[in-house]
């Protein structure tokens, strides 16, 4: 048992923190307000190896481990949660499943530019009628010769407004439920592929969330990821990894809010002394710090389990469940400590508060995480 980063990981953390402070943070409020997708950030992140952190170097990635990946997402999210989720989706939900399930050709042609940050990926699973119940999706894939023809609609697709490649889940036979689901790597310039406008959201407003629709869209069979019927398994495996990324994002947002609060309470004077001298304020800080540490440890534990265990769904779900609710509590307390100022756009803490909210919803709601955890601890032990 040793909870200490390696020298390499510490160096990575410092490098990413500097990049986040110098390049990402200065634009965070502006893109939150405008909803502009930070495409050049993604390209720069790609040059640093952050678009495919765990992708092997031969496919354009940085070839790093899962804990290093958590450090990257935490540091970027600490500066800008939109940028954090953009990277997290490209890494966990697009690159990782190709590394794990892709053919050599797919790794060379599709994965490599994604891992280099030259192309941006999105993950198209959710539909208007299929959210938590992903197996109920209605997008169809019909085999025609060497192609599949896809028809259907996807919703709430992060990176969707800008993505060059979509990992699309469609069913070859709805009667088979999850066993009919099949995954495809689709270029966004494929005829029949169209996307909606930028969805205005409560938080993570610059992450290019949109809807996608596919009409008579022909996808070569060579772009099918895995076999027919493997799609649900691929989606769930991707989401296990994705949840670790979102947990790291939640820790990063909470950490930013905590640091802002810690600084503010030492500057702000009321009753003739800094707020930090008040016991109630100190107690808030103590609880926030304790919960952030707990959340970071659970996140690292899940990443560690990913590297060492065959299955880490339980650890990933626990990390995501705990950290997302923790981030909600911590950002709320941080805003409270800022008083009226915290409710204004002059301070970043209101953005952290809005951004934290989504971590309880996407990549499996809190309720889905509880279902996963309960299944593991009640039925499998």
């Amino acid at each position: 048992m040793r909870i200490e980063l390696s020298e390499e990981q510490k160096l990575l953390q410092e490098t990413v923190r500097r990049f986040a402070e110098e390049v990402v943070r200065p634009r965070a409020s502006e893109i939150d307000e405008s909803g502009e997708f930070p495409r050049e950030f993604f390209a720069q992140a790609g040059e640093l190896g952050l678009a495919g952190v765990a992708v092997p170097e031969e496919y354009g990635g940085a070839g790093m481990d899962a804990v290093s990946y958590c450090l990257v997402i935490e540091e970027i999210s600490r500066a800008c949660a939109s940028s954090g989720v953009i990277l997290s989706v490209n890494n966990s939900l697009v690159c990782d499943p190709i590394v794990k399930f892709g053919s050599e050709e797919q790794k060379r042609e599709v994965l490599t530019p994604l891992a280099q940050g030259k192309k941006l990926g999105c993950f198209a699973l959710t539909e208007p009628g299929a959210g938590s119940d992903a197996a109920a999706l209605r997008t169809t894939a019909r085999r025609e010769g060497e192609d599949y023809v896809l028809d259907g609609n996807k919703l709430f697709i992060t990176n969707g407004t800008e993505a060059d490649v979509a990992l699309v889940f469609a069913t070859v036979n709805r009667d088979l439920r999850h066993k009919g689901i099949t995954a495809f790597l689709v270029d966004s310039d494929t005829p029949g592929y169209s996307r909606g406008g930028h969805e205005i959201k409560l938080g993570v407003n610059a992450s290019g969330t949109t809807e996608l629709s596919f009409q008579d869209m022909r996808v070569p069979a060579s772009r099918r990821l895995g076999e027919e019927g493997d799609g649900f398994k691929i989606a769930m495996a991707a989401l296990d990894g994705g949840r670790v990324g979102i947990a790291a994002q939640a820790v990063g947002i909470a950490q930013a809010a905590f640091e802002a609060a810690l600084a503010y309470v030492q500057e702000r004077e009321q009753f003739g002394k800094p707020l930090a001298a008040l016991q109630a304020v100190q107690f808030y800080l103590a609880d926030m710090s304790t919960e952030i540490d707990a959340g970071r440890l659970l996140t690292w534990k899940a990443a560690w389990a990913k590297m060492h265990q065959k299955r880490y769904s339980l650890e990933a779900a626990q990390a995501k469940l705990y950290t997302s609710e923790m981030a909600q509590r911590v950002t709320s307390k941080a805003l409270q400590l800022h008083g009226g100022y915290g409710y204004t756009r002059e301070y970043n803490v209101e953005r952290y508060f809005r951004d934290a909210r989504i971590t309880e919803i996407y990549e499996g709601t809190t309720e889905i995480q509880k279902m996963v955890v309960a299944d593991w601890v009640i039925n499998r032990t």
């Binding site: 990981q9 103590a286 710090s289 304790t290 659970l298 060492h308 626990q318 309960a374 601890v377």
Partner: protein, 391 residues
């Protein structure tokens, strides 16, 4: 729900326990299941001290396990110690606290601050199975330990102690107590010194046993010192260092209380799962109802968080920059989470959980003290905040 056993890597983060730690955990778990669990409910009801079990713990080397091998101890690391307290407390929080007090607040400060001569005289017996105690709290000095009033006055080659101590775990059983007393009334917090006092010293009287909500087979009493002579050689550390020693001891011992809370929490989750699988309502085991499943998911997740915080606090270098804050965080979180988990588990047990026939009812009483002793949750928050604000 326990940590998987995996080969350790050379650098970076590693959540695996070592082979030795896994072996100790398994051994103590088996001992607790075979020797402690069978009579625990009866002992609790009868307020009976588990004398034989304590003797066996001593034989296993679990009462002075962190004492250096030169003084007859096991030389264990704090994480191994935490695993032992967790496993003992899982089936008997009473046994857990008796072991924890002997190890953390009696042996530990003597081992760290005692002279070689004192250690040679005192530690082999403690490490060999004698119980120890720690007398800091007084009727008027709880969280505000620095205000303690027990006096120690130098008289020849002895110190003479007079005063009252309260809430002393292992009172009447301990072979040795670490006692905090005021040697210089004009020096405030720097006027306090620590002494190692034999349990059978003339002038040391053990008060009536307290009737507690929980931990009923662990005896707790006040101690009264009346002209109690303690050899000058039994001064621990230097004169005036007492509060520093006491606070360092508490920083360390909080890991023990966190581990105790963790063991109780673990048990509460196990009991909830077992009960929910067994209990049928509305035609199905209640483990199939989502409301029950989600509550189990919640307490299993906070258990993982407690475990991570506690093991982390136990595995950082002693006396390191963050060690005190991490120990307080672990104690704060683990004790609060364990209280909540026991409450949830009892709720899942319904009416049965309110009956002393079910183990969860005892845990409900036992867990309560974990947010109170060795520094209340409020004191932990003060300690944590002070460290955050001084960074």
């Amino acid at each position: 729900m326990t940590t998987a056993t995996l080969p350790s890597t050379d650098e970076g983060i590693d959540f695996a326990l070592s082979e030795d730690q896994e072996l100790v955990r398994e051994t103590v778990r088996r001992f607790a299941e075979e020797r402690i669990a069978p009579g625990e409910a009866e002992r609790d009801r009868a307020h009976e001290v588990p004398t034989e079990i304590l003797a066996e713990l001593g034989e296993l080397g679990l009462l002075g396990m962190m004492v250096g091998e030169d003084y007859g101890g096991g030389g264990s690391d704090p994480l191994t110690y935490a695993l032992v307290i967790e496993e003992l407390s899982r089936l008997s929080p009473s046994v857990g606290v008796m072991a924890s007090v002997t190890n953390s607040v009696c042996c530990w400060p003597i081992d760290r601050f005692g002279s070689d001569e004192l250690k040679r005289r005192v530690l082999p017996a403690l490490a060999g199975g004698a119980l120890g105690g720690f007398a800091l709290t007084e009727p008027g000095a709880g969280s505000d330990a620095g205000s303690l009033a027990t006096r120690a006055v130098r008289n020849g080659d002895a110190w003479v102690l007079d005063g009252e101590k309260a809430w002393i775990t292992n009172a009447g059983l301990a072979r040795w107590y670490v006692v905090l007393a005021r040697t210089d009334p004009s020096a405030g917090k720097r006027g306090i010194s620590a002494f190692v006092v034999a349990g059978d010293s003339p002038g040391l009287a053990v008060g009536a046993r307290e009737e507690k909500v929980g931990l009923r087979s662990s005896p707790t009493s006040g101690l009264t010192f009346t002209g109690c002579r303690v050899p000058a050689a039994n001064l621990l550390g230097e004169e005036g260092e007492g509060l520093k020693i006491a606070l360092a001891t508490l920083d360390h011992s909080r890991i023990g209380v966190a581990a105790q809370a963790l063991g109780i929490h673990q048990r509460a989750v196990e009991l909830a799962i077992a009960y929910a699988r067994d209990r049928v309502q509305f035609g199905v085991p209640i483990a199939q109802h989502q409301a029950i499943r989600f509550q189990i998911a919640e307490i299993a997740t906070t258990l993982a968080a407690s475990r991570a915080l506690t093991y982390h606090a136990a595995s950082v270098p002693e006396g390191g920059k963050e060690a005190g804050r991490l120990a307080s965080q672990a104690k704060l979180y683990a004790s609060e989470a364990a209280n909540r988990a026991v409450w949830v588990s009892q709720q899942i047990h319904g009416g049965n959980g309110y009956s002393e026939e079910y183990e969860i009812a005892r845990l409900y009483r036992d867990v309560r003290v974990t947010t109170i002793y060795e520094g209340t949750s409020e004191m932990q928050r003060l300690v944590i905040a002070r460290k955050l604000l001084s960074r």
